[in-house]
Every structure is written in structure tokens, then in C-alpha cells.
């Protein structure tokens, strides 16, 4: 088991991606933050396909931070796909999005999200949220072990 686990950030907006990276850095969580631009790239990364062919797929991220408002595959479809795939279905997925709409939250949990966090507009609170997220999912939470054969 790797001691340095990655955080997979699925975020199409460059501003938000940079702010998230800065927030994690501010929160002194220097874990490897891998940013992909949409759901297709996210699944490629997780399953070692296309641009990520050859990646060691047993090295799963500690947590996936998933935006909902994505081009090509929307966030819910990505989540559904993750939960349907034997190899990655237990991956912790935190929906990290601007919306606080009831229907988004309900759909997130219906599709099997572990958690739902609204991105604060206030940057200080954003940093705080990043720190809390990081501490919880990287340090406190224990991911699923590999299945015995």
C-alpha cells in the first residue's frame, strides 16, 4: 500500500482547479493532486486507458473530488460508471460542486456518492474545506482493501 496516495480532481474549470490546488497547498496537504478535465479523462486515469495507458491501476487515489458540471460525461454518469465497475466501485467519491440544489444532492446520494461538499464562494472557507476534506479522506478514512483472490 502506497503511503503517498493521490487525490483525483475532476474539474473542467481552470480557475476552480487552480484555486483547489492552492487551497490544498495552503492546507499543507501536499499529496499528489491529479487534475483531469472531465469524466472521460477521469475514467481513463482510473482504468489506465488512452492517455493513461500503462499507469499502475492498483494505485488508486485516496479520494475522487468530482464536479457535477462537466462537459462530455456529466458528474452523475461518471459516478454511476465508477460504482458499476468491479475494479473501482469502492473508490471514495466526494461531489465537490457549486450547487446546493436539493435535486443535485439527492441524485448524488442516489448514484452512490460518499459525500457532498458545496464549494464556498469565500476563498478562506474554501481553504478550510480543502483542509477538512484532505484530513478526513487522506488521514482518517481507511479505504477498501484489495479483494482477496
Amino acid at each position: 500500500m502506497k503511503s503517498e496516495q493521490a487525490i483525483l480532481l475532476v474539474e473542467d474549470n481552470d480557475d476552480d482547479a487552480e484555486l483547489t490546488a492552492r487551497a490544498f497547498k495552503s492546507a499543507r496537504l501536499d499529496n499528489l493532486l491529479v487534475r483531469v478535465r472531465d469524466g472521460v479523462e477521469a475514467l481513463d486515469y482510473l482504468l489506465g486507458k488512452n492517455d493513461f495507458a500503462g499507469r499502475d491501476v492498483s494505485d488508486l487515489p485516496a479520494v475522487v473530488l468530482l464536479d457535477l458540471n462537466l462537459p462530455r460525461l456529466d458528474g452523475f454518469t461518471v459516478l454511476k460508471t465508477i460504482r458499476a465497475d468491479e475494479r473501482i466501485k469502492h473508490l471514495p467519491v466526494v461531489i465537490l460542486t457549486s450547487s446546493d440544489e436539493d435535486k443535485d444532492r439527492l441524485a448524488a446520494y442516489d448514484h452512490g456518492a460518499n459525500s457532498y461538499v458545496q464549494k464556498p464562494v469565500d476563498y478562506d472557507r474554501f481553504v478550510g474545506a480543502a483542509r477538512d476534506l484532505g484530513l478526513y479522506w487522506l488521514v482518517l478514512n481507511r479505504p477498501a482493501p484489495p479483494r482477496p483472490d
Partner: protein, 336 residues
Amino acid sequence: MNADPHESTSRKFAAILERSENGTSEDVLQEAYELGRWAWGQGMGVVQITILQYESLAAALERVPTREMTGQVVRNAALLSAECFSVFEMAMRGFQESNAALTEMNRKLEAANRDLDSFSYSVSHDLRTPLRAIDGFTRAILEEHGDKLDGEARHLFDRVRAATQRMGQLIDDLLGLSRITRSPLRRETTDVTALARRILADLAEADRGRQVEARVAEGLVTNADPRLLTAAFENLLGNAWKFTKKQTQASIEVGKEQRDDGDVFFVRDNGAGFEMEYAAKLFSPFQRLHSDAEFPGTGIGLATVNRIIQRHGGSIWAEAARGRGATFFFTLGAGS
């Protein structure tokens, strides 16, 4: 023509029945039938006419001695029944048509609601994201390049951040207002005393420096949507809390007055108040009666409360004087 058509027609039927003692049953049937058609033309309800016609038909048939139950009588009775049924059929068709119209209207409302949903969705995502960028990168400038900036420059950036906070709050409030408009209304018996006390306790907890004398009447109960009522009280009590901040002896009171046409709840404070001549603006969105510097706010709170009260079928009004506090009165409609 103010007489109740039902009553006068009933009297006419009664008169027919009385005469049937003496006249032939055929005449009775004929008269009842014609009266029914006339009443229908007058716009009386088909159910009422049909009941009356059946009643007179039944009464008339009862009076017919069996030997006089001629073919003609039977035929007329059958005609009358058929006429009643066809009137029923017309009414049913009418009901079905208005049902169809209602269904169509429902469909349109649902489409409009979906549009509102996607508008809110848009606002949620598309407005908040660049706002976050403005706030975040401004902060990044201050943190990482603050040493290159003089006090004035830093102050200007602080004002940028303050403005983004304000816009963020406005977005939240607008979305809240839109949500209130769209959510279904579910009435249940609600303990208003407990609700108000809980909100006041939360306000006190979040603002420990302040001493506010809060009085909530015992036994306040109503039949309303508890989530919406909570939002309404949070706004009203939050306002009372806010506008009494300059009083040395701030006091807030929640109670109920019994008036002729029902209970009226009130929230009273002894804070800044406002001039009654501007009261008409009170419940419109974005309209404020105080400057933001004096008392921060977006001007959506009371618009939200107004919407909640309206959805309950009630009404809300205020009485106040500048420097002498304000009282907000509201009712919660017939269902409460």
C-alpha cells in the same frame, strides 16, 4: 335577481308535487320536466336539477294508482329519466373538458417550474464559479504579493472581496426565494412557541456578546408548513435581532392576537424601526429602508417571508416608527 335560484326552483317543484294530488301524473311529469329544462337554462347545477327531477318523478309515480299506470305515463317517466341522464352526460362532458384544461394548465406549470429549476441550476453553478475566482485570486494576491502592496492597495482589494461576499450572499438569498416559491406546501400542526424559542436561542448562540430580552408567548400553535414557517421566523427574528443591535435594552417579543377573523401572529422589537410612509416597499425584493452600512442585508429576506405567507393564503403587514421599533403581523390563511 338576488334570490337563490335553487330555493325558488325547489319551491316550484314543491308546488308541482302539491298539485299532483289533484292533477294527473302525466301533467306532473310534464311540468317537472319543463321546470328542469328551464332551471338548466338558468344555470342551476345539474346535480341539483337532477335530484329535484328525480324527487318529483319518484313522488309523482308514487301517487299514480297502479290502474292508471298507462303506457303514456310510463313513456313520459322514461323520457324524463332519459332527459336527466342526458343532462348528466352533458355535465360529465363539461367536467371532462375542464379536467383536460386543468391538466393542460398543470403541464404548463410543470414546464415553467422546470424552467425555474434550470434557471436556479444555472445561477448556482454559473454565477458562483467566477465569483469564487474573483475572491480566491484576490486573496492569493494579498497572501503572496501583499508585501509588494501598500496599505491603500490592500484596502482596495479588501473592498473587492467584500463586494464578492455580498454578491455571494445575494445569490444565496435569491436561490432561497426561488426555492420557497417552488416547494410544495405541507401543513401540519406546528408548535410555534418552541420554534421561535429555538431560533432565538440559535441567534443568541451565534452572537454571544449581546443581551437581548426575548419573550415568546406560551402555547402558540398553528397548522402550517413547518419548514417554510421556520424560514419565515428565521427572517423575522433575524431582522429583529439585527435592528435592535444599537439598543442598550434590546427586546423582542413573539405572540398572538385574537382578532375577529382569526389569529394574528406578531414579532415585535424595540429597534431602529422605520417610517411608515415607506412601508409599501418593505416586502419587495431588493428594496431596503436602511443603508447597508447601518444594517447589512440584501433586501430579499422580507420578500421571502411575504412569499411564504402568501403561499399559506395569509397576509403580512407591519407597524413601526423610526427609532421606536417595529411589529410585523401575519396570518397563515384559512388552513391554519
